[in-house]
Symmetry: C5
Subunit: 89 residues, 5 copies
């Protein structure tokens, strides 16, 4: 899974039926490239999210028949060292 | 899913049967690289499109038996910040 | 699908059974990197081809049980703007 | 499979149901890019791990229904030339 | 499929059950990056090999339930132009 930032929404009047009514977001990766993802969690512009790709993206969309290869899996609050999980074995 | 621009059509007299009669487009990515996609939506040269890859590409082609790993999912009209979706929570 | 150029054939005396008797070609990508693909169409050195990757590559090989992740899908004659397909809507 | 280093844990209050209660780690690749993986082996910050991607990632998570495309497959102790496996044929 | 060179073996005391007793090799790609692959053919350090990725990697391991996304498909003897296959059509 990768970490991307939401830039906005994608407007397409002509698209394949298989995407149904799913919202499409434009995301920027760490190198500045743009990607398009289905959004089942309601992310907003500026949010950092992690994305699920491949066949898992269809399951993540909550409907295996949605024709996506990239789905937002969650909105990131923060990340931190797992030091608070106890002493290292 | 990725954002690419249609450059033209691909002419192949010798190709595998599994692609059937699907039109093939040549697309340029954001770094200038060329890719080939099945086109079920009728995109034209100069159009910006988003593409679906992997096993979802076969479903997106409208026929799971089409042997593609990249299918045009829609023609992009524009993208915009989702600010018009209401105040941020 | 991607556009690559055939460089030659690959000779392997020790290989997994799942590739059966399929011919293996060495291809160069647009950045000069080398890849290996199963060739069901009879491509020759110097030919420009497009390749099918992922699970579709197994179907493209004409035998789902061939253990490939990259298969030549066709030999490219040329590509062109789709302007000859009629006026733009 | 790829070699990455664990940086920390990912905290997401809003995420898709399909990830269940699996711990998510932030990993750095050899170029410095960040990725997110499900962790079934209990890796800690600073550990070098190898990761399994694609549909195998779901199996590696110990539950095919976990919606991941990247799962930690093991913690690396070291790597070495296989010279101790006997003389070369 | 890609061309990589075997660097050594990977030693992991803590790894997911799904990899069973398969040997793991560390491979270097053409850009110098390291990858990890299951080895069903007995490759040795210094060998050039080609690798199979994705779901085909599981089949290539000789056991679909092995949780790999990269498997060595064969040891490369050499590659050559296919000129010896007869005159070009």
């Amino acid at each position: 899974m990768d970490i991307l930032r939401v830039e906005g929404s994608l407007i397409c009047t002509s698209r394949v039926d298989g995407l149904k009514q799913m919202a499409l977001r434009v995301l920027r990766d760490q190198g500045g490239g743009r990607h398009v993802a289905v959004d089942p969690v309601g992310a907003r512009a500026g949010n950092w999210v992690f994305t699920v790709s491949g066949s898992a993206a269809r399951y993540a969309a909550g409907d295996f028949e949605v024709l996506t290869d990239l789905t937002i899996g969650g909105i990131i609050d923060r990340w931190e060292p797992p030091a608070d999980e106890g002493p290292q074995a």
